[in-house]
Amino acid sequence: MTDQRTSSTPAPPRPKSSILSSLGRLAAGNRRALFPLLALVLILLGNWLISPSFFSIRVVEGRMLGSIIDIFNRGAPTVLLAIGMTLVIATKGIDLSVGAVIAICGAVAAVLISTTDLSPYVVMLLSVGAGILCGLWNGILVAIFDIQPFIATLILMVVGRGIAQLITEGQIAVFNNPTLEFIGKGTLFGIPFAIILTAIVFVIVYLFIRRTALGLLIESVGANARASYYAGINARLITLMVYVISGICAAIAGLIITTDIKGADANNAGLWLELDAILAVVIGGTLLSGGRFYLALSVIGALIIQSIQTGIFVSGLPPTFNLIVQAVVILAILFLQSEEFRRPFVRAWNRMRKTA
């Protein structure tokens, strides 16, 4: 299904399947994709000013290394979470539990691989299965029991970390299994596998959402649940599905984070990552009040957040200032995106052009 949503008003053609095509749209003058992309470019340039070697890529033992690779590699979990979170937010929901789900799925994988003889592939499946269960739990609370998403997922956010600790008994469950570790540490064609995996997940989710009518129905339910109900849409099923997708994304993120350090850290894995994911979605332009969503721009949003993070690391600034720098940069991006903020500048610019 190609998307033909073009519009005269600021409304929104939906980004296509990749960052590249988003860039293409930028050339086509697409306002919505413009500002997140512009922000990303500006931040990367800023990083390059701070650290001249920012864009350089070394190859060591067949593995590409460099800050720019780091951004994609380190950003992978946030990107994954942002993909799931976008869909959840589009239905007017929110999923606070993703950080805890990361911990659970990581713990499941680590404990299973180190204490049983299961094949690593089975372990991966079981770990993703745990993510599906978590998503189902959230989805059932929200869709069937009609509990407010914030509070419904807050429950799993609290309980989930406890469950993860229960599984690992409060220790960091370490393991040694090259197959499993490949998810987080392996490389394919020199590119860290986590990046490739994330790209694959993105494409699959994108196709799943846009090739079926799911995307439209999600937007419809998010924009007006009651009218959608009258139109004969099964809002319950849709809601359930987005939470499950979010659970799956979190599980994969959990596998990446866990295998990256060869240990499941139930206490810290994915801690506060849900906030990053939500932030990424918002930077991408999806409204927290539901409705229209922009999957590719959420990915850009996640990369922006990671670029800020990596930029801070390479800057050598004392860590005391980390939070302030993040806040200022994020605010700057949001101001840049705010039409109301830009308006006076645009006017002044137009006036200048006229007089000139």
Binding site: V158, I278, L287, L323, I324
Partner: protein
């Protein structure tokens, strides 16, 4: 005919039931000690949660409160300890700073149409970061005024202590209830949150001054968060930049368990009080039990919260059929009893 306060009453009933279960297991629950402890230990959470209630009813959210609490504490510690300010002066100054902080967040939300979630998230980073810049270490506050406040408590016969901060919490609560229900500002907040869903904002068309109300709501929340920070600094006699991490989530949980809808427009400040107390009971119960290890503590807290919400849900929707409740918003009109009316 069902009263609109019904959810509030249901919430309260469940709270009492929860408390009685605790009492049945630990008789000490019945002492004024434990009851007064609820108020004292949850005073700063409660004060922040009152502010959060307004923001949520207005259809927004304020994630900055925990950081504002920390910043306030560190600021007070420095102002009193380093600059030699009298605590009352320091309080006045920080309350003004807090008010300005809230007003700016509100203005950014209103004028630049940036979602509250993100603006206040940035506010959260800024305030916490600011606290770190002021001091990385925890700073003790030693001042006779703090001792004075610390000694200001009423002792019940069974040695329970009604502290100053507990009383302050109750006062803020009462003032909050009055503002919410008996002032035009309060009603405008409800109107704003209740019509956020409508495409052409009904509150705007009805003549609610949206901009002013938005700014005032976030100012109120920030002022109460600052007050909460002052209470926290009184409670601990110190300022610590890492204090109250995640307080906003607790506050939101208290507001929501108190029956306020995150979609805005519906809720009670008094409900928030019950929500805060429920957290107190759960915490005290776990502390009294003393056998839960770290992870079981988390699991039990979450499950009790879950249990509570389910019971509340069942109680408050006993009339609507199941179908109605599945669709948000549908329940209200269709499921509520429509008294048969005679045509004019």
């Amino acid at each position: 005919m069902r009263s609109r306060a019904f959810p509030l009453i249901a919430t309260f009933v469940v709270f009492v039931a929860l408390y009685l279960i605790g009492y049945q297991r630990f008789p000490a629950f019945g002492t004024t000690r434990v009851i007064a402890n609820f108020l004292t230990d949850k005073s700063f959470l409660g004060i922040a949660a009152v502010g959060m209630t307004f923001v949520i009813i207005a259809g927004g959210i304020d994630l900055s409160v925990g950081s504002v609490v920390a910043f306030t504490g560190v600021f007070c510690a420095l102002a009193i300890g380093r600059l030699g300010m009298h605590p009352l002066v320091a309080f006045a100054v920080i309350l003004l700073i807090g008010a300005a902080f809230g007003a700016i967040m509100g203005a950014v939300i209103h004028f630049y149409k940036i979602p509250a979630f993100i603006v206040t998230l940035a506010g959260m980073f800024l305030a916490r970061g600011g606290a770190f810049v002021l001091s990385q270490e925890s700073l003790p506050i030693e001042h006779s005024f703090y001792e004075l406040i610390g000694d200001l408590y009423y002792v019940f016969p069974d040695r329970g202590r009604l502290t100053f901060v507990a009383v302050l919490f109750v006062v803020v609560l009462v003032v909050g209830i009055v503002i919410a229900h008996f002032t035009r500002f309060g009603r405008n907040i409800y109107a704003m949150g209740g019509s956020r869903e409508s495409a052409a904002n009904a509150a705007l068309l009805l003549g609610v001054p949206i901009g002013r109300t938005t700014i005032m709501v976030y100012t109120l929340s920030a002022v109460l968060a600052t007050l909460s920070g002052i209470v926290y600094s009184l409670y601990t006699s110190s300022g610590y930049p890492r204090a109250a991490v995640g307080l906003e989530l607790d506050a939101i949980a208290a507001v929501v368990t108190g029956g306020t809808l995150l979609t805005g427009g519906v809720g009670f400040v008094a409900g928030t009080f019950v929500g805060v107390m429920i957290q107190g009971v759960i915490q005290t119960y776990i502390n009294f039990d003393g056998t839960l290890n770290s992870w079981w503590t988390k699991i039990v807290i979450g499950l009790l919260l879950f249990l509570f919400i389910i019971i509340q849900k069942v109680l408050t929707s006993y009339r609507g059929t199941f179908t109605f409740r599945l669709i948000p918003g549908l329940s209200r009109r269709a499921a509520e009893s429509k008294t048969s009316a005679s045509p004019p």
